[in-house]
Amino acid sequence: MLLWLIPAFPLLGFLLNGLIGRRAPKSFVNAVAIGAVAASFLWTLKTLAALWPLDAPCLETYFTWIQAGDVRIGFDLAVDRLSAVMLLVVTGVGLLIHIYSIGYMAHEGGYYRFFAYLNLFMFFMLTLVMAANFLLLFVGWEGVGLCSYLLIGFWFLRSSATNAANKAFIVNRIGDFGFSLGVYLIYIHFRSLDFAPVLATVSERPVESGVGPLTLIGLLLLVGATGKSAQIPLYVWLPDAMEGPTPVSALIHAATMVTAGVYMVARCSAIYLHAPLALETVAVIGLATALFAATIGVTQFDIKKVFAYSTISQLGYMFLGAGVGAFGAGIYHLWTHAFFKALLFLGAGSVIHALGEQDLRKMGGLRHKTPITFWTLVAAAVSISGVPFTAGFFSKDEILLAAYHHAPWMYWVGTITAGLTAFYVFRAIFLAFLGEPRGWQHAHESPPVMTVPLILLAILSLVGGLAPVSRFLAPMFPPHEAGHEMHLVVISVGAGLAGIALAWLFYVARPGLAERTAARLGALYQLVYNKYFVDEIYQAAVVQPVIRGARSLLWQKVDVGLIDGAVNGLGARACAAGDVLRRIQSGNLRSYAAWVLLGSFLLLLAAGLAGGAR
């Protein structure tokens, strides 16, 4: 089926743009970048059409990558139903965001570099979702992390951007460390890293009651997922990652890369189902992150930060879905989230493009100036709020119903989060688009190259939920109790609508009420507004001790004392020894001759003593 062509197109695009894009005209850069992703998308469609209905995975083996003893790790790509969904999201949404970027990045320097990085990201992301073994998945996993770093730090002259890029990279290293340990454990226990044999072996094992190897593997993989998918406790990099250009936030930090953790958990569903403790941890972390990030999102004023916390919160939903055993629902939410969250970011980007401003307090009244952006953002917002029959409604309710059957309290927390979600998203939209202008003079609607992707994504946000993703994925995962309780659906939808109404009340009907409420809440508001001081706590508890330890111990003691000391000491000893030996070289020829005589005499004496008279 030539599966390798799917990631190969973006790689070719990266090479072309990276090598000669600098001197090429913009039209060439556009054609290469968009063409590569479009080719990849079309080839995905063709492949999926040919493989339909994908009852069995299609595995292609290309070459042996690592061969050592009985270890064989191949460059193997596979497509099954799970990766088919991911492929469609990555190439489809990726294509729209690439097109949008033409308009958004039009006036930026390093145009070719931006598109080269985006294509490289697509290559690694497609490798990640098509990999047929853990190590190849890890290659993609690290590759997308690299591209995330490069693109967050795209405006590398801004120190805030480079700091954010470093933060994202370093925090992800922590997660990846756990992930690689999990992969080692998998190899130790199963003597293989290919998905098919490992997961088949796992399925034959009994379910672990306590903490066994599978639980350990599951938890270590989860550490990797919390890093990549920005879950507690490693979520701190994602809000800062908004320093990157907005299309990057939409593509990498909303629609695709950050969902890699969810994909990985779903891919390893067999492991998690045999390790209930690890699975429960997934659910609890997901739920806690969803609520935690949603509360922070309510108080933020940077439009991209609001959506960043929203992404963290929605990723928490996906983990909740996976954690309660509804892996299909988690991936379903990944699918719908890709549409409405990419749209939210691209819409925010359109606003930023129009105003050059990200602070919600300085917007207001943009409705008439940027109508397309406004209406598409409303479509995304109703979808994320779970208004009935939009995309977000289907996937969110499936997760919440599954959560109810797992543990009712999870449903209630999830419902509260749904209300908060609706509140903060509409708060952002009301602040930006309704009311009176607050301090801007010129605003203009974005060019069609940006608005057409917005409109397409808006349509997908509204009707994308009709794709029966979780039913399509059902054969991949064991069945779980799926409820259809009407009253639960009504309650969670009601929570969403209540959130919208509350946002209307606070920011449209009674302007000023928000400030008064914030003032009345006082310390609590300050706590949430400052993001629970998590960054400061990490700074004091982890970053500063590490820096201090590096300065006082590693630098001044180990490096200066031990390593430099050893090297310099060796040099000094050699000098001293040379100084002593130098005195032998007196320049006095007759003393040299005396030494030669003495030496040969001693040599003869030694030979005589050792060998004797033979």
């Binding site: 130098r582 070289q585 007196s586 320049g587 006095n588 020829l589 007759r590 001759a593 005396a594 005589l597």
Partner: protein, 104 residues
């Protein structure tokens, strides 16, 4: 016992005596030309040993080595005398103790 009736040990003792004389002269004399002649003396003492032993054992190896030593001695004489000549031209002296400018 050699045909002429001179025992091998006599040759060896003579050679040892000559070599010691050369070595002592090399260490104790200061004139470069004298030292040079002492080197020749040592070389020829060794040559005498080679030849005597070759004659005694009826083997040709010692004779061959003696020729080698002669060749080396001739080459050494050519180079050595040239160096001595240069030293004398530059310093107007042949005292070995004054030639130590490469000391440090």
């Amino acid at each position: 016992m050699s045909p002429a009736g001179v025992p091998l040990s006599w040759y060896l003792v003579l050679a040892a005596f000559l070599f010691t004389l050369g070595a002592a002269g090399f260490v104790f004399r200061r004139n470069i030309i004298t030292m040079f002649m002492c080197i020749e003396l040592m070389l020829n003492a060794v040559n005498l040993t080679f030849v005597a032993l070759a004659y005694h054992t009826h083997q040709v190896d010692g004779l061959v080595l003696a020729f080698f030593v002669m060749v080396v001695a001739a080459a050494e004489a050519a180079v050595g005398l040239a160096i001595i000549l240069t030293v004398f031209r530059n310093r107007a002296s042949l005292q070995i103790d004054e030639v130590q400018s490469l000391r440090d």
